[in-house]
Symmetry: D2
Subunit: 139 residues, 4 copies
């Protein structure tokens, strides 16, 4: 069983290595992660909704956090190998959240599913995706 990683460790790590990500980790376990985008009001798309690329940024981040939870440590060298995202509804709201759930972890990689929603309507998903993070190969 992997050691337990805390939300604080994840956020401190992100602040240090990649502050421009602008995503906060809210929950982390071995099998899920929850995160929130720090919404930049200037980056809203036509119509006032949160852009697809900003949604992708959050989806990618929460899958990174999921990877940390699954392997029990923050790991700068885990990188996205592929991610597919489907946009379901306009993302209109003050806050954007994402939850990632573990599909599988093996020696090479972590696969997870993710969904995003605005404000307090988690059942009204705005996008959903799946992706793979590669783990550094151990010798």
């Amino acid at each position: 069983m992997s050691p337990i990683l805390s939300v604080e460790e994840v956020n401190q790590f992100v602040d240090k290595v990649f502050p421009a990500m602008r995503v906060s980790c809210l929950e982390i376990t071995e099998t899920h992660a929850l995160a929130e985008l720090i919404v930049d009001q200037d980056a809203l798309r036509p119509g006032g909704f949160i852009s697809g690329p900003d949604q992708f940024r959050l989806a990618d981040a929460v899958l990174w956090f999921l990877t940390f939870g699954a392997i029990g440590r923050v790991e700068e060298m885990s990188v996205t190998t592929e991610l597919s995202i489907r946009f379901l509804r306009p993302a209109i709201g003050q806050r954007l959240y994402a939850r990632a759930d573990l599909e599988v972890k093996n020696r090479r990689s972590v696969v997870g599913s993710v969904y995003l929603w605005c404000d307090d309507t988690p059942r009204r998903r705005v996008s959903t995706g799946q992706g793979t993070y590669a783990l550094p190969l151990t010798k």
Copy 2:
């Protein structure tokens, strides 16, 4: 045959409706588009490379431009329905480019393939993807 759209029309449109995208259109025809990311040095990922989400932003933008070219007009209401991206190599460079090619255009949507590279090495792709833009339904 669709009317021809110019690079200037596309860039003026983007400046007006979505300046935060920070992507320039370089070429546009009915079957392809070429674009460049305005790289934000603060947004580089650990290791100094251009982040996955920034690559996604460019991929999404160039597919949007491809859609404009395919339908012969700028169209704010064409939106991404899905996009999958695969990261092939670290994206290290001063400039990031993307080229999108048309797979199909029908009444409902435009499907395109896209690949990205740094600087003057188009054969050394850093990522590749495919995606779908929905068109507004005409009555």
Copy 3:
């Protein structure tokens, strides 16, 4: 609210229009479907597991059934527009099942997520995917 469709209606429809699919519907509601592949022992891949394409066939079928449930009728003219699948573990077993859950239904399409497992181990997913079915446009 859509009329309720029965498992029998779905299976009779499949028998009539596409018997070569060799997939049985086991459950159907407006928001989910459950199905089983009729495993062809001759089509097993090297190592004795169920091949990726056979898994895709089941994933595609259960998403088709989900579409029927979501729109409340069998519909020959609903077609897959895109599907991505991730293979998580070798699929070794006598029976292969898949469950699809609705992500969104709108005028144009149905988006769903799907996962597959062998025998009586639904928590041990062998593959997972997401896809889109286009609906016939009503005039």
Copy 4:
């Protein structure tokens, strides 16, 4: 540089380990593969076109052959980790072909793009996709 693999070696290997695949390799180099589905007239979908799952089967096979070409040998233990496919047009025809092109090969995996067409109309693509094959890890 990898040793060159012949079409005959690939087809003999497939006949031996996975005859139910029913796909023939037509061309293979280090960076591309061409293949043809042996179309089963009984497996046609409603409307008389080649089904999505049969198209997936060919796409998956040609990516497998591409992997063999890229690594310079047939390799039973290379397996698909993920594949996304987009269906562009009805696949109506007597013969179905697919071409896969190499996106990247590294220690862990091969990523390729693929497109499919019927009969002698390669520019009229019926589907397109991208996918990843994992390579066995060398010690």
